[in-house]
């Protein structure tokens, strides 16, 4: 069972958001994406990073991923 930065059990929606966020960061880390794909994935990742930070689910910087 996942927990947030406060140690509280995450909700089903939060689990889904975290899963999406991690899938996006993994995709963004790939070096075989076409420019249009890379740009779109970066936008999606940044949007989800903001959400998981707001909800206290995760907090990290994405400089190494170019975001």
């Amino acid at each position: 069972m996942a927990t947030d930065l406060l140690g509280q059990t995450t909700t089903a929606t939060e689990d889904e958001l975290l899963d999406l966020y991690r899938r996006c960061t993994a995709l963004l880390a790939r070096d075989d994406l076409d420019p249009c794909v890379h740009a779109g994935v970066r936008v999606a990742t940044v949007g989800l990073a903001t959400v998981v930070n707001d909800l206290g689910l995760d907090y990290e910087h994405l400089i190494d991923l170019g975001a």
């Binding site: 406060l6 970066r42 940044v46 990073a49 930070n53 206290g56 910087h61």
Partner: protein, 449 residues
């Protein structure tokens, strides 16, 4: 979407204080680790202070970290131009490059933002805009020049993020902006407090009754005046709308405080994204609730420029969240930003604060613009003059009465100090779209300057 919620982020905006502080500590640990691993500036300053990230066990340990001053930031920029040693990466990692406004005449601070940092900045504006009642069905007019000063850029993107219809009001005359506000049917207008007054004055000249327009909310930022009760009351009366104060700074890239729709006479601190300390301006001892002190900010936002314990020189007075009945757990700054640590002028032994002068002047709506001018005569005596601009058609009798009343009010508020109240010619005093600078201290300048 649960758009009936009064909060942008109900989960953290309503956290009890112990949980809010636990969240701050969790984020602070990660931020300090990040800064220690990546930022040359912090690697050096932590070493000089004998601080190691593992010493951070509680929020109280924050005080083990050295404070950062603007002077240190500037020195770092001079040491390694153009961005200094604070950033963890260079321009290749960034998508935005902004600077401070330059209104002080000093070398500007240059800042970089990554894509994630930029998204976070508009997110902070979302907290404030939503909290003051902006919703997707609003039409927002942003009366801002859209230059290299970061200003309302974050608000612009926040409006889009919320889903409001957004009108960028850059590169326009004041007259055209008034017309556009009406033409586009704006329900929200964003500007500095000074410019909100100027827009209203221009509307008056054009015969436009803004109070009868669809505008319902004004979002103010860029100057402390948004929380000066007399100035806010004047703006609200001129526009027939409610005015919400916000405040931010280029050094963090966005706002850190906002006034909620309850208008409790203060601004909430976005405490899930910032730690705001208040300290004695002459040292570093913390001051308690209800005491005035200097803001020191730690921001969890920018990854490219970590900001830990930055001394802002803003004067504030923190009060507990319970002061407002909106339900947020975020503490407030009573009266918003009260001024700057170096704002106060000493004139013949009397302290003169520009904010207090403005509060008196704004009691008289006939005043179109004003300037406080300090000079020193050959006799080495300081002289303080309030220069006042009235509408061109203001009668002599109106002026005579105003001059007498203003001189009386100013003296009464300043231990009898004599203010010379002078009428400036129409259009003589400077007008401001960004931060107004109405205090001119010429006491160290040669006579006639």
């Amino acid at each position: 979407m649960a758009d009936v919620a009064p909060f942008w982020n109900p989960k953290t905006e309503t956290l009890p204080r112990d949980q809010l502080e636990a969240l701050q500590l969790a984020k602070l640990r990660r931020l300090v680790d990040w800064a220690a691993a990546r930022s040359p500036f912090y690697q050096r300053s932590f070493a000089q202070a004998g601080f190691a990230p593992e010493q951070l066990r509680s929020l109280d340990d924050l005080r083990r970290l050295p404070m950062l001053t603007r002077e240190e930031w500037m020195a770092s920029q001079a040491e390694r131009p153009p961005f200094g040693t604070l950033p963890v990466a260079g321009r290749e990692a960034a998508i935005r490059f902004h600077t401070t406004s330059g209104t002080t005449g000093r070398e500007p601070i240059r800042v970089l933002d990554s894509a994630k940092d930029w998204a976070w900045q508009s997110e902070m504006w979302c907290y404030g805009l939503w909290g003051f009642g902006v919703r997707p069905d609003d039409t927002a007019y942003v009366a801002f020049g859209y230059g290299s000063f970061i200003g309302f850029w974050g608000l612009h993107y926040a409006m889009e993020k919320i889903g409001a219809l957004n009108v960028p009001g850059g590169a326009q005359t004041t007259e055209n902006r008034v017309k556009q506000i009406l033409d586009f049917g704006a329900t929200v207008v964003a500007s500095t407090p000074t410019y909100a007054i100027r827009l209203a004055q221009e509307a008056g000249r054009l015969g436009v009754d803004l109070a009868a327009s669809p505008v319902q909310r004004l979002i103010l930022s860029g100057e402390p005046a948004g929380s000066i009760p007399q100035t806010k009351a004047l703006i609200e009366r001129l526009w027939g709308s409610v005015a919400g104060d916000t405040a931010g700074m280029t050094e963090i890239g966005t706002i850190m405080i906002f006034e909620c729709s309850r208008q409790p006479g203060g601004t909430h601190i976005i405490e899930d994204h910032f730690i705001e300390e208040v300290v004695d301006p002459t040292g570093d001892a913390p001051v308690g609730y209800g005491e005035q002190g200097e803001r020191v900010v730690t921001s969890f936002g920018r990854g490219i420029i970590p900001l830990l314990r930055y001394r802002t020189a803003d004067l504030v007075c923190k009060v507990p969240a319970a002061r407002c009945d909106c339900g947020r757990g975020f503490d407030l700054y009573e009266g918003g930003i009260l001024g700057r640590v170096d704002d106060m002028k000493l004139v013949r032994g009397t302290n003169v604060y520009p904010r207090a002068v403005e509060a008196i002047v704004r009691e008289y709506p006939v005043v179109e613009e004003f300037q406080l001018r300090l000079t020193r005569g050959d006799d080495l005596l300081d002289r303080i003059a309030l220069r006042v601009e009235l509408p061109p058609d203001a009668a002599d009798a109106t002026w005579a009465e105003l001059r007498e009343q203003l001189a009386k009010d100013l003296a009464a508020a300043h231990e009898g100090l004599r203010f010379e109240v002078e009428r400036a010619a129409t259009g003589e005093l400077p007008r401001f779209e960004l931060k107004a600078r109405r205090t001119v201290d010429l006491r160290d300048k040669p006579a006639g300057a």
